[in-house]
């Protein structure tokens, strides 16, 4: 019976499964071919992490209609929780050099610490959600933004030094080298979010987004469901924070500024508010643009003896802002709008294409 179910699941989703396997195979091969210092891997790693955080923000902003700007704060909690619990005991003395090696003298396995990172972020979200989720739209955004700033300040507080190492770096915790790791973790998390969005709860979230009063009249408990969406979104932001810590190999609270939240918000808006695949696509595009493709704009360039005007350090940001403005002006709904890119859609597209070429051949 169970075998049959598994079998039918595989048959139903074979295109998706094949695509996932192909993606991972391609990544594996790329790692063998390209030098590990290639910018390509930076984009893939950071893109995968930002994709997870963007999708988690989309769950809140795009699917539940709660405009929250606390994402960086929850990432910070996740990153710190992960780092604090995974620094090996023998390295603690050097890391916590001003705080007598800190008060935690053990290290947890990486997967446990990652889940703990998510849970810690979710716990704080639950607490902060109790008062804050009574607010609506802009007010909620301001309150969550304030929360993120407060968290950033608290984590740099000297008195918490034995745990957070004050305003000093946390380092020497295990990271990852292969690009497969962030892809696998983000992939699993995003799959969970998609499953949630397509479940009965996801429908309830969307109903709240469309019309709160009607949703309540349909028997949906607003407070409970908003709290759920907020906590779950923060859980995944926390996991994303842990991934970011692993990628950067060091953590410092001062890096998790509100500018980071805005970057993620931009990714969500450019990808399409209410589209998971849009968020994923745009996070890779965003990271590629900001880290790689526009790099040349920052370098002074000479053609012969002619110095190309404007190209100097910082110009990249100007061009980048203009690109974003153009995207927002011409793709009002973002790249994907509220549509999704799925295996079905792709096969349908190719079938249509094939059908067309056959028709043309018949003519």
């Amino acid at each position: 019976m169970a075998d049959k179910k598994v079998h039918s699941f595989i048959v139903k989703n074979r295109v998706t499964i094949i695509m996932v396997v192909l993606l991972f195979a391609a990544l594996f091969i790329l790692e063998k071919i390209l030098p590990p210092s290639s910018m390509f891997f930076v984009v893939l790693k950071k893109g995968a992490i930002y994709a997870l955080v963007a999708v988690s923000m989309n769950l809140l902003n795009g699917f539940t209609g709660l405009f929250s700007l606390g994402q960086a704060g929850f990432m910070l909690i996740g990153a710190y929780t992960y780092a604090i619990f995974t620094i090996p005991p023998e390295a603690r003395d050097t890391v916590y050099q001003y705080f007598d090696g800190g008060i935690i003298k053990f290290a947890l396995p990486v997967p446990v610490a990652m889940i703990l990172a998510g849970l810690a972020a979710a716990f704080f979200a639950f607490l902060i959600g109790l008062p804050v989720l009574r607010l609506k739209s802009d007010y909620l955004a301001i309150a969550t933004l304030g929360f993120a700033e407060i968290i950033r300040a608290i984590f740099q507080w000297d008195k918490l030094g034995p745990i957070t190492n004050g305003s000093n770096l946390l380092r020497k915790f295990p990271g990852f080298t292969s690009v497969l790791f962030p892809f696998a973790v983000s992939g699993i998390c995003i799959t969970l979010i998609v499953l949630l969005i397509n479940s009965s709860y996801g429908r309830a979230f969307k109903a709240i987004r469309d019309d709160e009063i009607a949703a309540e009249a349909m028997g949906i408990n607003l407070a409970k469901h908003k709290q759920l969406a907020f906590t779950i979104s923060s859980f995944f932001a926390g996991v994303g924070g842990a991934l970011l810590a692993m990628y950067q190999t060091t953590v410092q609270a001062s890096a998790f500024t509100s500018a980071m939240t805005y970057e993620i918000l931009l990714i969500v808006v450019i990808g399409g508010i209410g589209s998971v695949t849009g968020s994923i696509l745009s996070s890779f595009l965003f990271i590629a643009c900001s880290e790689w493709w526009l790099r040349f704009l920052d370098n002074e360039t000479y053609i012969g003896s002619f110095r190309v005007p404007l190209l100097s350090s910082g110009f990249r940001k100007v061009v980048f802002s203009i690109i974003i403005m153009v995207v927002v002006l011409f793709y009002r709904q973002g790249i994907m709008g509220t549509k999704e890119l799925s295996a079905d859609a792709i096969t349908r597209f190719f079938r249509k294409l094939r059908g067309k070429t056959k028709e043309e051949a018949a003519k």
Binding site: R203, D210, A217
Partner: protein
């Protein structure tokens, strides 16, 4: 003696100094269609909002099937401001959120249609099934609730077929024509399996032909789903035709009550609608 479904006791809603609803006492019995009419601004929708928990009434109580579901007395700022009579015996405060009241079996529609615009017709109805499902967030995410979900889907398909909306099931709710949107809103309310259905101006913006169809539709669903209906309406021909009893409100107060024939003859009702001559 038929069962009392809805009873409001001296229901009062005061906004600041404005008495929107004052001492409204109405009764609705099982299987009836009762209409609540009155000129614009009489407080009909406010009364609905008090019954369904959107507003917390300033004073008074609501009971449903003999059980008190909403109850309040003037407190805080309202203690001073309250302009009604002061012989208040209620001490209990019960003010549930609207979703709790829907769960008890009171469903409603809205004056200005409130559909979930970006969801399909099918999903709009399916949302109503969420509140009674036994799933939790984990079983729903991992699809362990599939038997329950499947049953809910089947029930919704059946409901859509009965309401003649099955052919539109995958269209966005906002793309339906106006009349069908009204019908979908009522279907969505029916999907919560209510005992009492509150309709707030179901015929607003409809032409005589559509109003006629709506009248038949309301009577049909009442018999089919064993409902009791309380409705607000301005189309008098619709009200007179289908209601068993009528309550008339004006400036927040109940001014008349009776069968359609009685209400039509009532001088106060005629005055309220047509105005009283000044030179009398």
């Amino acid at each position: 003696m038929t069962e009392n479904i809805l009873h409001t006791e001296k229901l009062t809603m005061q906004f600041g100094g404005v008495m929107a609803v004052y001492n409204l006492t109405i009764d609705v019995y099982k299987g009836e269609i009762v209409a609540l009419i009155g000129p614009n601004g009489a407080g009909k929708t406010t009364a609905f909002n008090c019954i369904t928990g959107v507003y917390e009434p300033t004073n008074g109580s609501v009971s449903f099937c003999g059980k008190t579901i909403v109850s309040n007395h003037p407190q805080g700022r309202m203690k001073k401001l309250y302009a009604g009579d002061r012989d208040i015996t209620r001490s209990k405060v019960i003010s549930p959120t609207p979703d709790k009241i829907t769960k008890l079996g009171i469903a409603r529609t809205f004056q200005n249609i409130r559909l979930f615009k970006s969801l399909t017709v099918f999903e709009n109805v399916l949302v109503a099934k969420h509140m009674r499902a036994k799933q939790n967030i984990f079983s729903a995410t991992f699809r362990l609730n599939w038997p329950e979900e499947k049953r809910a889907r089947e029930e919704c398909l059946e409901l859509l077929e009965e309401q003649g909306l099955l052919q539109y099931k995958d269209e966005l709710a906002s793309s339906l024509p106006y009349g069908l949107q009204r019908r979908l809103e009522i279907s969505r309310a029916l999907a919560t399996k209510p005992k009492l259905l509150l309709l707030d101006e179901p015929a607003a913006g409809m032409n005589p032909q559509e109003t006629q169809e709506l009248a038949e539709f309301i009577v049909r669903i009442k018999d089919k789903y064993d409902l009791t209906i309380l409705l607000i309406e301005h189309h008098m021909d619709l009200v007179m035709k289908i209601s068993d009893r009528i309550y008339v409100m004006d400036f927040g107060k109940l001014i008349a009550h009776g069968t359609p024939a009685e209400v039509q003859q009532n001088q106060r009702v005629i005055d309220a609608y047509l105005g009283v001559a000044d030179d009398a």
